[in-house]
Symmetry: C2
Subunit: 276 residues, 2 copies
């Protein structure tokens, strides 16, 4: 799938010179997998987006959001997968940090090629870059992403992703995904209330898929030692799906039937073409 297929695979855009997304990272984003004109996780993306905008006091008219999304989807071929990326920044003001509370948000919609879903056994590293604890921003997919950028600078192609800890050495997430740890037929996933991005697929798994599978899941603190002693380590990302880790540092795991069952339940819960 090449970018040229997508009518708004934008190369340049015109923005206000005082755009607050650019000036301060003052906004949030969503990257959404669209399959056959449908975003199976849309309700969850929308919920996270609106919650974040509320926390940040950014105004967005919800019917406008829906109508813009429909306009973007209408530009896509009827069949196939694509990624729709939405950036919402706080509306303009010209007063430094001070915001205009009445300014409607600014939005950028982009259509991008869908990357392949995770497949096979993933190899993970461990980042030296740590996440700061900031409860006021925790969970949101906001535009202040220098920690992830610094973390991703730590390696080239040696592994597909890498775990990140906070300064208390709790494992929080990988650079691009949320993590689930399998131990004694239970799942554990890091709390997202002090740092980290609370992924949309993570929420869907916890609330909709895992309850079908007799796989109890807890949101908790997870140490590197917990990962080392785990029976399995899984990643999830709303664009790449779910992935099973085969190797992390000197620890290896074999493919697990529990992962296969979870992935099957996820794919049938999402969209008939999601896993194709």
């Amino acid at each position: 799938v090449s970018r040229e297929q997508f009518p708004n695979g934008l190369s340049t855009i015109e923005i206000s010179a005082t755009n607050r997304g650019l000036a301060y990272g003052d906004g949030v984003f969503e990257t959404m997998r669209c399959v056959d004109h449908e975003i199976p996780l849309w309700a969850h993306h929308k919920e996270r987006l609106l919650q974040a905008l509320k926390r940040l006091q950014i105004k967005l008219d919800e019917p406008l959001l829906e109508s813009e999304l429909n306009g973007v989807i209408a530009k896509l071929p009827a069949q196939g997968a694509a990624v729709i990326k939405l950036i919402v920044a706080r509306g303009d003001s010209e007063r430094g940090y001070r915001a205009d509370p009445d300014a409607e948000s600014w939005r950028l919609w982009q259509i991008l090629p869908a990357p392949p879903l995770y497949s096979g056994l993933l190899t993970l590293g461990l980042c030296e870059t740590r996440l700061a604890n900031q409860p006021l921003l925790a969970g949101m997919k906001h535009l202040n992403r220098l920690e992830q950028v610094l973390a991703r600078l730590e390696w080239q192609d040696q592994y597909q992703d890498a775990l990140m800890c906070d300064y208390h050495s709790n494992v929080i997430e990988s650079v691009s995904a949320n993590v689930f740890v399998l131990k004694n037929n239970r799942l554990f996933t890091p709390r997202m209330d002090r740092c980290g991005v609370a992924g949309v697929l993570r929420a869907f798994l916890i609330n909709r898929i895992l309850p079908q599978l007799d796989l109890p899941v807890s949101e908790t603190e997870i140490s590197l030692e917990d990962i080392r002693n785990a029976d399995g380590l899984w990643l999830c990302n709303s664009v790449r799906g779910v992935g099973e880790v085969g190797q992390w540092l000197d620890v290896s795991w074999r493919p697990s039937p529990r992962f296969v069952a979870m992935r099957r339940a996820l794919h049938s819960g999402l969209h008939p073409e999601w896993g194709k």
Copy 2:
């Protein structure tokens, strides 16, 4: 001074749709007071900028920086004050967080009206928004500024600025300035190694002005109680200059001759027209 006087008081700009400043706040900025075609603090702005870019591994050709600055200054009227704002973002890549290590940075120069220097006795508040400790980003004027945006949302016009603490209740800075605390003829200013922006004027005061004045200064931890017990509280900002706080919550201070002496030394150390 109106914006229209400035030939590049840009209203809109064209950027790449994948601009990393917009997508991730992946860059830094400087706002610089220019007086009569001169930026008195340029050497310090440049030093901070280059240090930050080095820490973030963003490429910027230094001669190019100087030549672009000269081009911007040439557009200004020969007399008078203006603010030059520079945003430097990491050069484009199209791979999510992953950066292209060879990409030259992207730069945006803007000419803005100079705000008045601080004058009179300032009134300060105290923010509930706290700064997260992140040594990897501390000190830099990077584009991840959601904490300052949230802090500035806490008030309208009741005071001119407000102090911010970290989660250990150390006072770090105000939303828009660095702070100096006067106590027993000594100055104290918060450490900038865990959070906060290490201001260019702060550095100039510490290294060049205060040593002339027999005002010993220490970079240290400062509590709210220290502020309450202080003999004076001063702000500094490279665009607004130095300001003396008259009121903070229920604490008030009278004008101090030490402040007047410091400001006089600063102004004559900067530029004959700086304080006009």
